[in-house]
């Protein structure tokens, strides 16, 4: 199993919830202090460099108009880390292709970073959460279709090498697609795609053989969607697999670990008004029919409102002493039927540099060696068989 350090790069210095309407979309950016921002960006990048030195892999993501994540252009931070790190795999999870104006630009950015890093890019492609359609103005009824057309364009741009070609799709028309550079990894970097509720999309990710990732879901739900992925998986020639992200804090005592986890759980206690959580057409009709009936309570809001102990029992928080964290990961691994990538939100909210690095270090030195050898999923093994047969 591979472990990945992750922070959304939050800007937490905002007024209390009762004094603001939203932490996303509409919060005035006069509340952003650029000097503080300068310190925060450099601090978070330092922590990624430390993750590399500790032998961990790296995951970045992006959001827009949000204090929860000010990594507003993730390819930029990934490019910096391509130069400043040596060994870590560099996962961007992901490029919001459904919300961006030009998928070919994404193909170029990723190919460049792949070349600079010597083939360390793991390329996420995401539909984007509900809030994102306000900043991007992508039509919320079409983000799924845009995601898949964008992936098709990027994949072709990476893998067609015989000169310029045209693409006339539903959403994008491009002529003379012929990216220089092409990716360092041949035939192309792996694609990762996220999901939680949309079963059809999870099946499609599996049938296309991409890596599937899900975040902060209770283990019973993770089991269901990982099973769905396993059942539908078809190899595309590159290793598939499954990834899960909980909040993670490792410390010398359970008390200290829960205190750290509680600070990271700032991420679960964000505030956004209803109109930004459910733009029209983002979720399926049945969800909105239930909303009209008053039986729709929001995706994971109910789970997230629970206490730390409950969240730890559900696998949404993994926190404790190194021995306890090893046990929690192995329990989760068994409960969800195995997975390949342990994505760790090890920093959020006001959790400071010193305590973030303390937890990362303890994890890397005392936990990671014990979980590294957990067998890779059925999908990765299936891939090995494909490769063996080909040789």
């Amino acid at each position: 199993m591979d472990a990945w350090h992750f922070t959304e790069m939050p800007y937490p210095y905002i007024p209390p919830h009762d004094q603001i309407d939203s932490m996303r979309v509409t919060l005035p950016n006069k509340l952003f202090d650029p000097k503080l921002g300068h310190e925060l960006y450099n601090r978070y990048l330092d922590e990624y460099v430390i993750a590399d030195e500790l032998g961990l892999n790296i995951m970045v993501n992006e959001h827009h108009s949000s204090v929860v994540c000010v990594n507003a252009a993730a390819p930029l931070s990934l490019a910096i880390l391509a130069r400043q790190t040596k060994n870590a795999r560099l996962l961007i999870l992901g490029n919001p292709v459904a919300n961006r104006d030009d998928p070919i630009r994404i193909a170029e950015e990723m190919a460049m970073i792949d070349c600079i890093s010597g083939g360390r890019v793991e390329c996420g492609m995401v539909r984007g959460v509900t809030y994102e359609v306000f900043a991007s103005n992508a039509n919320p009824t079409q983000t799924n279709e845009r995601l898949w057309e964008g992936i098709d364009m990027v994949t072709r741009a990476w893998t067609e090498h015989e000169g310029a070609f045209s693409y006339e799709g539903k959403f994008w028309h491009k002529r003379a697609i012929n990216i220089w550079p092409r990716p360092y990894q041949q035939p192309r970097p792996r694609i990762w795609i996220t999901g939680t509720n949309d079963k059809e999309n999870i099946k499609k990710v599996a049938r296309e053989g991409h890596v599937f990732a899900t975040f902060l879901s209770p283990y019973e739900n993770v089991r269901k969607i990982f099973d769905l992925y396993r059942e539908n998986y078809v190899s595309n020639g590159l290793p598939g697999g499954m990834a899960f992200m909980p909040l993670v804090y490792t410390a010398d005592t359970d008390e200290e670990a829960l205190k750290g986890a509680d600070e990271i759980a700032w991420y679960l206690r964000t505030k956004s008004p209803a109109q930004f959580r459910n733009p029209p057409g983002y979720v399926g009709l049945e969800f909105n029919v239930n909303a009209l009936k008053g039986t729709f309570t929001g995706r994971t809001d109910a789970i997230r409102a629970q206490g730390l102990e409950y969240l730890r029992e559900q696998g949404v928080i993994i926190a404790g002493t190194p021995d306890s964290v090893i046990k929690q990961i192995k329990r989760l691994y068994d409960l969800v039927g195995g997975f390949d990538h342990f994505l760790m939100m090890q920093q959020a909210g006001f959790l400071d540099h010193k305590r973030t690095v303390a937890s990362m270090t303890k994890f890397a030195k005392e936990v990671y060696p014990a979980i590294r050898e957990l067998p890779s999923s059925h999908c990765a093994r299936m891939q090995s068989a494909v490769q063996a047969a080909a040789q």
Binding site: D21, V25, T26, F134, N137, A138, N139, P140, T141, Q142, P273, A274, Q275, P279, P280, G281, L285, N288, V289, A291, L292, K293, G294
Partner: protein, 263 residues
């Protein structure tokens, strides 16, 4: 013309290429093509039954609304208005009064700019569809960014008029409502609630046009309506007091009186 008037709404499905358009008919007499608002609140209102005593009322559902199907290629009001013009030709309707409410008003304006030979006259009630101002002017209040309570306040003079009892509706009706909301966003998210070309096409409307506007409409205000009116040659406008975006629901008597004066 039918000899016997239709006493209740009759439904038929009209197929044009792969589009299947639900068309409701009521009454008999000179035709009125009635294009509903995005919530399709009009079909059961008393004024429709009242008009049907002396008119043939034709109420189609746009693609993706009501029981019309939703072929993928239909993405904007251009597509809808061309389909509706095809529909009128197939139904052999001429000399009709074309009345549109809110989103339906936008569709009616689009149809009249493309081909107004089917129509005797045009009546628009608080329509969307045109952008008058500059890039940072919010001509049309953003119903997808404003809090729901604020949208309600802007849409209704008395918010009680907008209350709908979803809990007692059958499942099928709720699916239609949810799909209407979704389709509305598919067509109107970007560009927001307007066709950038329409403003430069309105001059071509040659039939008599009349606008009816709710004095307190906070989604598209009276000043917006005045500019809309000025863009259509010879158009007139009546402002209905104590009404917001849907004056025909909030002030039905005043609305029907004015409508009758202009049919």
């Amino acid at each position: 013309m039918r000899k016997r008037p239709r006493k209740s709404l009759m439904s038929q499905t009209l197929k044009i290429e792969d589009a299947e358009i639900e068309v409701l008919r009521l009454g008999a007499g000179p035709p009125i093509v009635l294009l509903e608002s995005e919530e399709q609140l009009e079909r059961d209102l008393p004024f429709v039954a009242e008009l049907a005593k002396s008119h043939d009322i034709i109420i189609p559902s746009p693609i993706g609304f009501g029981r019309s199907n939703r072929p993928d290629w239909v993405t904007n009001m251009d597509d809808i208005s061309y389909l509706y013009l095809d529909m009128l030709r197939l139904l052999n309707i001429s000399k009709a009064t074309l009345v549109g409410f809110s989103l339906g008003g936008w569709i009616a304006a689009e149809m009249a700019t493309k081909n107004d030979t089917h129509f005797k006259n045009l009546i628009l009630v608080d329509p969307y569809g045109v952008k008058h101002g500059g890039p940072t002017d919010s001509d049309i209040a953003d119903i997808w960014v404003l809090p729901q309570a604020e949208v309600t306040r802007r849409k209704w003079c008395d918010p009680a008029n907008g209350k709908r009892d979803f809990a007692s509706m059958p499942e099928e009706q709720l699916y239609i409502i949810a799909r209407n909301t979704e389709t509305f966003a598919k067509y109107c998210w970007n560009p927001y609630m307007h066709n950038p070309k329409l403003k430069k096409r309105l001059h071509g409307i040659t039939i008599p046009a009349h606008l009816i506007w709710g004095a307190q409409d906070g989604i598209v205000d009276v000043a917006y309506g005045e500019k809309y009116r000025a863009a259509i040659p010879g158009a007139t406008m009546t402002i209905i007091p104590e009404a917001a975006h849907l004056p025909h629901i909030e002030r039905p008597d005043a609305f029907l009186r004015d409508l009758r004066n202009h049919i």
